[in-house]
Symmetry: C2
Subunit: 331 residues, 2 copies
């Protein structure tokens, strides 16, 4: 049986901009990692081609066989089948059977899930969620994504789509969201929404440094807002303050709905404006019920750009616990 | 071992108005049921006294021993210990160790949880949630309570307080709620809030039949609104329509957060205005993501006033599966 220990697990995170891959020992130590740009505009075949090639090359470079592969992707993934139903930031991804395609190509068990679910598993095992059994991970970037660990298990829901906290309503009849609904927290606190709200304030004559920094109203982004906020700009401060308040309302809903021990907050917008974590901590007290707030901790995400790939290994191990012995030498 | 089959399970539901008790065979058939008024204003000892007496008398009347007791109560219950932390509608209930008290009195394993969690388990095993693994049960009455079955298990959260959907924010900076927060769905769609909104509309000169039916503005209740609505009153129609819209926003948040297969809606307000279920079905389409809506069913609750007591037996059986053999003759 000693030979059966020679395999490794591979985790992949396919994002709109880049794809990250890690190779891990069964012991949990990372022995290899690599990133490449995602060919997001060229359809599923280009991305699958790059993925199969990247997997092969990585395994070759470490001289090991794959036991299991976990893949996180920025889209909605059907539970069980690992079919990618829709990925808004990857052109042409509709009902792509990614799990089967990679499984057929490599001959090993493959687990596919939404990228946020993988990030949540990574933060839970190795990052800000360590040691807690009830953890909600919320990432605020271009959009707002989330995933829930409940009683030590990833919450999937009937079809596998649970955790869409970004598209929960915090203002009935509120701002129009990218999903077509009105009043989702994403329509207030996601990167695109922060930029939109800042542009509207400038257009209404609010003044401040935003136009100076960006060149024109149209070029104001969430990054400009973060920059102006760091410079002490009053309008940017107001936009950030409101972002924190809306985000806290959604986080308060998470607190009362899931009663988590820990909420892990990360993503590009939070990296740009780390004080959002403190703002959420402050405002959530007015939304959460006392019993639910009692032992709650709100902490920043700890894992960097390989967090999703690391979590993908966690899921693959959970789903295929016996693969270390039965699948030896399958690649 | 045949003797070990003679025991029965007892389920109790302690509500603000009445306490309901059922005795069930291990086979699941109900052999006895009884209700008595809850002495809600007289403190924990009076209620515990009635409970111990009611349990003893019921077991005597069926001539059987108790294997397990499950108790649902209209309050927040700490996970594991079964301590009732707080029960807004029962005077003097703060940190009452109900599980230990009844366990000591009867010498059998006792499971205590929030009443909505018991109702959810009852609807899941015997009612509107039958056959689905992901079910959310929402009861709209004086308040709004809910509980979640996820992947075939009751969602508890870290402390046991998960499922407080009534206190999720649907309007940031909205109406004042009984919990002190602003904009909870309970502040729009619970019985007291429907009455409050109707009174405000009448005070603002909206007219209609509400005052005629109730006698004065102060006496308008959710029941008056339901009655006027059945009579075709225009103001009542508007109040009901808005209630459905706010409720649908909260239900939409549940859809996107938990991705349930089925949502079961019940409670006094829904019994009075059954069309609220249809209104929620209609409006939820504009809040839920397509993937989460795909296989969703929204159905009315099926169990009557013994639903919580029946569900309490379900929980006791889940928590103490071996009690039929080991606890024979303990009472």
């Amino acid at each position: 049986m000693a030979g059966a220990r020679r395999g490794v697990d591979v985790g992949v995170d396919i994002g709109g901009g880049k794809t990250a891959l890690v190779v891990m020992e069964p012991s949990g130590s990372r022995i290899h990692r690599v990133q490449w740009p995602t060919r997001s505009g060229e359809g599923p075949e280009a991305i699958i081609e790059d993925l199969v090639e990247g997997l092969g090359r990585s395994l070759e470079s470490v001289g090991r066989n794959a036991l299991r592969v976990g893949i996180g992707i920025c889209g909605q993934v059907a539970r069980g089948s690992g079919v990618v139903r829709f990925a808004p930031n990857l052109v042409g991804w509709r009902d792509v059977p990614l799990q089967r395609r990679i499984g057929d190509a490599l001959g090993v068990p493959v687990a596919v899930a939404n990228d946020l679910k993988m990030i949540a598993l990574g933060e839970w095992e190795h990052g800000g969620g360590r040691g807690a059994d009830d953890v909600v991970v919320i990432f605020v970037g271009t959009g707002i994504g989330a995933a829930v660990i409940s009683d030590g298990r990833l919450l999937l829901g009937h079809g596998g789509y649970a955790g869409e906290i970004g598209h929960t309503t915090v203002v009935v009849d509120g701002r129009l969201c990218s999903c077509g609904n009105h009043g989702c927290v994403e329509a207030y606190a996601a990167g695109w929404a922060i930029a939109e709200r800042a542009r509207e304030a400038v257009a209404a004559g609010a003044g401040g440094r935003l136009v100076e920094l960006s060149g024109s109203i149209d070029r104001i982004t969430a990054k400009t807002v973060a920059e102006a906020w760091r410079d002490g700009d009053e309008l940017a401060r107001r936009v950030v303050e409101d972002t924190g308040r809306y985000l806290a309302a959604a986080v308060g809903n998470v607190v009362n709905s899931f009663n988590p021990r820990r909420i892990v907050i990360g993503g590009g917008v939070v990296q740009g404006i780390p004080e959002l974590v403190y703002a959420v901590r402050h405002h959530v007290a007015s939304h959460g019920l006392d019993a639910c707030l009692e032992q709650l901790e709100i902490v920043p995400a700890e894992l960097g750009s390989y967090g999703g790939a690391v979590g993908a290994v966690t899921l693959a191990r959970q789903l295929y616990p016996d693969a270390d012995t039965v699948r030896e030498g399958s690649l």
